[in-house]
């Protein structure tokens, strides 16, 4: 075990994959020589060579198209889109090609590839470096969407994503690359040092896709979250005084529906927290699933706490960001209902 922040854990995952499997390779903008703008691929080109880790043109569509062709050939490409905000030029490739290839070809071709992209706000990135686009991938059948919340999961889930035979969108919550963040922006920065989830094995291990983690157990309410919001939720639960169970979904497709149902049936209340805009967000799907499967156990309306339905604003970052106060308020409302 070694102490790693999330960047180091992801770098370690890539290093393990490139070392173990000669059919893996990783590429993207500034990924090769420089090691990526967030340093996730630092040192990999030097260690594994320019054919295993390399730079690309500024062409998200071209990057993902090339990855699909490589995957169809039999490789396992891992590509980086520099910010999830910039993934949209590749959306056609992901939706029309990667997600449907196995289906439409009657199983003749498939695309085992992983698309990494830093996502989410809280870094004063404005509307082009802060978005959370998970819902637009979750809606596309044939794609898997994975979102880690700590270094251990980041490494284990990334290795599992690359081992997976389907295309995986791997969204990395960049606000917690260097340390957990609970949404209290006025407090001093924390690092991953001394966090239990920052104890990461140096070798190969996986965290299975589709298996949620119960971060803390509780009796009175269930909070569903992923990515940075897992840490915000923990703080909000503490503030609220509610004995709430916190579930880190870890992947939204495949979704661990059993863990969600078991928890809500036990607690009778459900609060969903995500950073993406609320309307049409993944919280809507979670809310519908909980309502369909736990209606007779619910003692309060399902609450959704999310980003507002505006673009991600620069000056109003902390008005937009769904922090622990809003989560705590929602939990109290659920208790009073």
């Amino acid at each position: 075990m070694t102490q790693m922040n999330m960047i180091q854990a992801l770098n370690s995952a890539l290093d393990v994959l490139l070392t173990d499997d000669p059919d893996t390779l990783t590429f993207g903008q500034d990924v090769g020589y420089f090691g990526g703008v967030f340093r996730v691929t630092e040192g990999l080109q030097k260690k594994h060579g320019v054919t295993r880790c390399f730079d690309t043109p500024i062409s998200e569509g071209g990057i993902v198209a090339a990855a699909i062709g490589m995957a169809a050939y039999g490789l396992r490409p891992i590509v980086e889109i520099q910010f999830a905000d910039y993934i949209l030029p590749a959306y056609d490739q992901l939706v029309s090609e990667a997600a449907r290839l196995r289906y439409r070809s009657g199983g003749q071709f498939w695309a085992p590839m992983t698309v990494r992209a830093p996502y989410g706000g809280g870094i004063f990135g404005g509307q082009t470096h802060s978005q959370s686009p998970e819902a637009i991938f979750a809606h596309i059948t044939g794609l898997k969407t994975v979102i880690p919340s700590n270094p251990y999961d980041a490494k284990g889930l990334l290795i599992a994503a690359v081992e997976d035979d389907d295309p995986v969108i791997f969204l990395e919550p960049k606000r917690i690359y260097n340390g957990p963040f609970d949404g209290r922006q006025n407090q001093s920065l924390r690092t991953w040092a001394n966090e239990a989830t920052a104890e990461v094995p140096e070798g190969r291990f996986t965290v299975p896709l589709g298996k949620a983690a119960v971060v803390r157990e509780g009796r009175e309410a269930t909070v569903l979250a992923y990515g940075t919001m897992v840490h915000v939720a923990a703080a909000g639960i503490n503030d609220s005084g509610v004995n709430a169970e916190l579930i880190d979904l870890r992947s939204i497709v495949p979704l661990d529906i059993d863990t969600i149902i078991a928890s809500v049936r036990k607690t009778g209340r459900c609060v969903i927290l995500h950073e993406a805009s609320r309307f049409g967000g993944f919280g809507g799907e979670l809310s519908a699933l909980v309502q369909e499967r736990c209606f007779h156990h619910l003692r309060a309306p399902i609450e959704r706490v999310a980003g507002w339905d505006t673009p991600y604003p620069h000056a109003f970052e902390w008005d937009y960001f769904p922090g622990p106060t809003r989560l705590a308020d929602a939990l109290r409302r659920a208790m009073e209902a």
Binding site: L25, G62, A65, Y73, L101, R104, K144, V253
Partner: protein
């Protein structure tokens, strides 16, 4: 080299002789096999078009006038190379003797459809025949061909990729992204623009075809661009062989414009009389690719009208037999694969949603 995109490479002259430096000097056997693949494509197209009119399937697209391209390229390249085709490349499969019955079953979406009822007619996929999965989205596989070629180079393999895009679709970003990647990584790929001059109802000028040639786009990417008479089986063969040699010797990609003419409608869903003169095809100066190859081998003394008529009659009955076999299984709506297939292959292993939804449908 910089002049090539602005000329027109031809081998068969107007009299049917093979002339000039690009003559691939093909054997009589290969020439006849090429003619057979083209005629089979035409016979199949005509038969399926009629079956559509009879309501036996929902949709069809013919390759009429473009049969030389797929046939020559399919034969000129290796069995393990991979084509990323457009929907007018049926002659690729015909030249590689893909089973006609499987084509018919796909077009009928019947119980024996190799694509399990999931695809619109003619959007074939035939991995073992070097034919990548087609889709109704145009252009979006051009970049995948480059990636496939890069993977081959990555594995120190000698396989190459060939991709096709229509003249109209060169206006999509996919075209430019693929050319950039092919150039930057010196990918062993042949990128082809099939300039059949029509994108449904709009002529190639709407894709910039009046301002320059499509082959000339290669120059800005630092790639060679060849502009080929796409109705000339020999010229298509020679250019493909040239580009394949370049790719296999690690000298990089080539852009080939195949100048041809879409002689029939875009699909069963449009009437060309509404947007172009009805007799335009008859006036196309580069002629019918089938008649040109036929004229050439007739001049060589290895072919005559009797042989030609006999070949057509033979192919016609081959097609009829395949259609009969497909009809026996069932035409569209009369037979279909198990509905279970609707839920398979979405993922490698279905997740709980698909399992539940399948149960909800009672299967």
């Amino acid at each position: 080299m910089r002049d090539l995109p602005y000329g027109l490479i031809r081998v068969l002259d107007d009299g049917g002789d093979a002339v000039g430096p690009w003559n691939p000097n093909l054997s009589a056997e290969v020439l006849v096999a090429g003619l057979r693949a083209m005629l089979l494509t035409r016979a199949f197209d005509d038969r399926m078009f009629r079956l559509h009119r009879q309501g036996k399937t929902s949709f069809y697209m013919k390759s009429t006038g473009e049969e030389a391209i797929g046939a020559a390229q399919s034969m000129a390249l290796d069995a393990n190379d991979m084509s990323f085709p457009t929907y007018r490349m049926l002659s690729w499969l015909m030249a590689r003797e893909y089973p006609l019955e499987d084509l018919v079953n796909q077009i009928f979406s019947n119980a024996n459809d190799p694509l399990k009822g999931r695809q619109l007619p003619i959007l074939y996929s035939a991995r073992d025949y070097g034919f990548y999965s087609l889709s109704g989205n145009v252009g979006s596989r051009f970049g995948a061909a480059v990636g496939w070629a890069m993977a081959s180079a990555f594995k120190h393999d000698t396989k190459i990729a060939i991709a096709h895009i229509g003249d109209g679709t060169t206006a999509e970003g996919d075209f430019h992204e693929a050319l950039t990647f092919a150039s930057v990584y010196r990918a062993p790929v042949i990128l082809c623009v099939v300039n059949n001059q029509w994108a449904i109802s709009t002529y190639s000028g709407f894709a910039g075809g009046e301002s320059t040639t499509f082959a000339a786009k290669a120059l800005a990417y630092g790639l060679p661009g060849l502009r080929i008479d796409g109705n000339d089986f020999l010229a298509v063969w020679a250019a493909t062989e040239w580009a394949a040699e370049r790719a296999r010797t690690n000298n990089g990609a080539t852009l080939i414009e195949l100048f041809t003419y879409r002689a029939a409608a875009h699909s069963t869903s449009d009437d060309p009389g509404k947007y172009r003169p009805v007799d335009e095809a008859a006036h196309w100066p580069l002629g019918d690719p089938v008649e040109r190859l036929r004229g050439h081998i007739t001049r060589l003394g290895i072919w005559d009208d009797t042989k030609h008529e006999a070949l057509i009659a033979g192919l016609d009955s081959t097609v009829r037999l395949a259609v009969k076999a497909g009809e026996a299984i069932g035409t569209l709506g009369k037979s279909k694969p198990s509905v279970k297939e609707m839920f398979e292959d979405v993922f490698a292993t279905p997740d709980w949603r698909l399992i539940e939804q399948r149960r909800e449908l009672g299967i």
